[in-house]
Amino acid sequence: MLSRIDHWGPRLFTVALLALLAVAAWQWRGGAPISANLLELVPSDTPDLLEQRAEKIVQEPLNRELVVLISFADRQKALSQAAAIGQQWQQEKLFEKVQWDVSYDLAQVRQQVLDNRLALLGAEDRQLLQQDPRAFVERRVQDLFDPFRSQGLIATEQDWLGLGALIEKKLPRAHNVQVDLSGALLAESDGKTWALLRARTRGDAFDGNLPLAVETLVANARTEVQAQGGELLATSGLLYSAHGQRQATREISFMGSVSSIGALLLILVAFRRLRVLVALLPAAVGVLAGLTACVAVFGQIHVLTLVLGASLIGVAIDYPLHLLSKSWTLQPWNSWQALRATFLGLTLGLATNVIGYLALAFTPFPALSQVAIFSSAGLLGSYLCAVCLLPTLLGKGPIVPWAKPYGLATRLLAWRRRLLSRIGTPWLLLIFVLFCVGGVLQLQHKDDLRQWASTPPQLLEQSQAISKIIGFQPTSQFYLVRGKDEEQLLQRQHVLGQRLDALVADGKLKSYLALSQLVAPASEQNSLRASLSAVPANSAALQALGVTPQQVEAEVRQLQALPNRSIEQALAGTFGEPWRTLWLGPTGDGEVAGLVSLQGLSNADLLVAQADGLPGVKLIDRLGQLNRLFAATQISAAELKLASCLLIFALLCLPFGPRGAARVLAVSLLAALASLASLGWLGQPLTLFSLFGLLLVTAIGVDYAIIMRERVGGEATSLLGTLMSALTTWLSFGLLAVSSTPAVSNFGLTITIGLAFSFLLSPWAGEPHSPAHKELAS
């Protein structure tokens, strides 16, 4: 079959390539299927649809809301500037809502409070009224005399008992945000007044160009404000997303072009024929195949995958380089003959690489599965291109490589032999082991989702400043509460709320929002209605003011006539707005569910305990889950590593026998170990990404060892081939190391160091005293 490859290879491959192009074109028909949503990269290990929905609700504001603060020395200027920008933004189609002032329709809020007085009265006030109606009425009278007590929205004659005034007081204070007398939103901090502008976009932070458009609007507004001597702060998930998108695009194009140009120059310098530039084709085919496979499997491709995937160019170029490097000894040059001689090495290399990459696919992290699928498909594509098409493209013309590198390789090998004759391999091994032990002991482990995205300091500073100024500190944890009906749900939330009140009192939690704060369960509404009958007899204090018994009785009758309100009804209108997102409604299995959201948490561990012994209450802690998952994945990474080594070992036994296979594998494992130790010496943390980098080091390092063991065309030629492919791989992974995304940089660094060691150690893959020169076999 191999003998006829020059006949069927090019034809078959061309057909396959055309098909691939067609599929890719179809996938990209509606724009680039690229995502920047970090949450897509982490596993959603909650099979519970309700939890997923709840998480989405909690996440949504982060991804759609923009908060802007504007400050001028002249306070009025700040307010008018915020209004001007707000009006301008309102014209933009991309915003669903832009808010810089509140113009509540007070009449509507008034009516709503009046109509829902029975249902909305808070638990403590309800209790006082039921247990001691006389004290309740007396407190009301005191409040009427209180000069600093806002009379409130509702006229006293409509609210003798003050239920409406008490309900109004219950409205959650919007953190530090105040409403100016003109209705404008503002916040004060450190003697500065900030005008607040809030906007909500139609799409979310992961919708194509939306983040970039929002970023531009913010940048323009900032320029305008600064030109007039003011200051502008902005924060939004959209801005982070925009930054991520731009960063990724810049890095991909930078890395992609530098590694392509680097590879191109290397090939030109070494082989000195323009024709050999076709060697770049397999890399291009590889990227295309990787993209197409990734989109086919996942529906889209994440920017992080793209950045990591850009490094694939450096690996994919290895196949043509191995082939071409044989031209130093295999003369006169014949592409197909060279292919036949290197076919085994190339195929083994592909198999080990794919094993290494595919091992990533079995982790629960979609991020790594994407990289795995992208890279495996990419490698397969470029391998097939190199094997089926490349020799034809290279043609029959002679290739006479530059002789100097060959001399260099020969000298390098000679140095190595001299070194070995002075210091034996066992001694070198000892030094090596000491180096590794020293490094590994210094290793620190650290995993954090924040490493997965680059967080620009300016954005972070602004976010922190804003959360300090407006006192808004949302936490990602929240409680999901279920009940068989609204009654049970509200009661469960109330019990949880009492526990949270204790935390708030201790200063361990700033505040929380629960549906039970808004509306009483139906049973409580009923008993309140019944207790109201006792009020007229206890209303002496009011009557002393001149309120007639008839007026009190009329109000009691009016209150008793109010029907019970459901959660849905209580949430309607302006008054229910702060609580509205907490209501999930029917769950589909006959239950109802609602959230309890938290603000300003000092210790996340306390939260778990609050749900103890409360049926139907569950703490949802995404970050905590992820951290546990990171830890669990470490173990599965070690298992995968072992499994992939065994698989590679089994594969290598076929051509090299167990002894040879062990030798080849040992070289790459030692390289991985040395890379691990180097991270320790460099003070770099061991992360999930570096761990998977090590997996790849083993896989790619085996490649180098195979070439050095096979020694097609002689030891020097093989070393040269290894060096060339190592150079291109370093170029691409080394570039990853300068990425601004910590996870990507860590991954790149690990692989770069690992491959350097793989190269240095690769000569040990051959048997020390058997000059197993495999000459041209035809």
């Binding site: 005399f145 000069p147 600093f148 007081k169 409403v179 007398l181 001149g546």
Partner: protein, 197 residues
């Protein structure tokens, strides 16, 4: 409403200069270090035959803030200063749960204390009429938000501010009479202590 009380009180309590120009008025407001005197507050509720009347004493310090001592029909002490409104309890001063615009009220209050009438002008149309011995300052709210609460506010005075009236959109009104207030050069030790706690 408390914000208006605070602010109007401070406008009212300052002895008035001869000028009828708002700026000069404002300059005059900043002069006395301490003003004290009795007050009578009447809340006129449409549905009640007689007003809710309370009486007491107040002390206004230019630097420290306002003490408001309610004596009848119940006894209660309040304090407004840079940190907000507080109520005296057996355990000491307790901050009163503030509604959202509280810092805003304090800002306005302090602006008036310092004689900065720009704060008032932002939110009200001001009209000063009458003579030095009998003047009237009419405040008409500008913003939609304020208009939904107040229809008009009126301050009257002679040598001293004598009367403040708040007319609410709903038909109720509050009248504050400051019949015998006088300027002092410094706080009494008790008052100083009340501000220091």
């Amino acid at each position: 409403m408390k914000r208006f009380l605070a602010l109007l009180l401070s406008v009212a309590l300052a002895p008035l200069a001869h000028a009828f120009d708002l700026d000069q008025l404002a300059a005059q407001l900043a002069k006395p270090a301490v003003v004290r005197g009795p007050f009578v507050q009447e809340k006129h509720l449409r549905a009640l035959p007689k007003p809710l009347t309370s009486t007491g004493q107040f002390v206004l310090s230019k630097d420290l803030g306002l003490l408001w001592q309610l004596q009848t029909p119940l006894q209660q002490e309040y304090r407004i200063d840079g940190s907000g409104i507080a109520k005296r309890t057996p355990q000491g001063w307790q901050p009163v749960a503030q509604q959202s615009a509280s810092a805003q009220q304090n800002r306005l209050f302090l602006a008036v204390l310092k004689g900065d009438s720009s704060g008032l002008r932002q939110d009200f149309d001001l009209r000063l009429s009458g003579e030095a011995g009998a003047w009237t300052l009419d405040l008409t709210p500008r913003s939609l938000m304020l208009k939904q609460i107040f229809s008009a506010i009126q301050i009257q005075g002679g040598e001293q501010v004598a009367r403040i009236e708040l007319r609410e959109t709903q038909g109720d009104s509050t009248v504050l009479r400051l019949t015998d207030s006088h300027a002092e050069s410094q706080l009494s030790d008790t008052d100083r202590h009340a501000f220091a706690d």
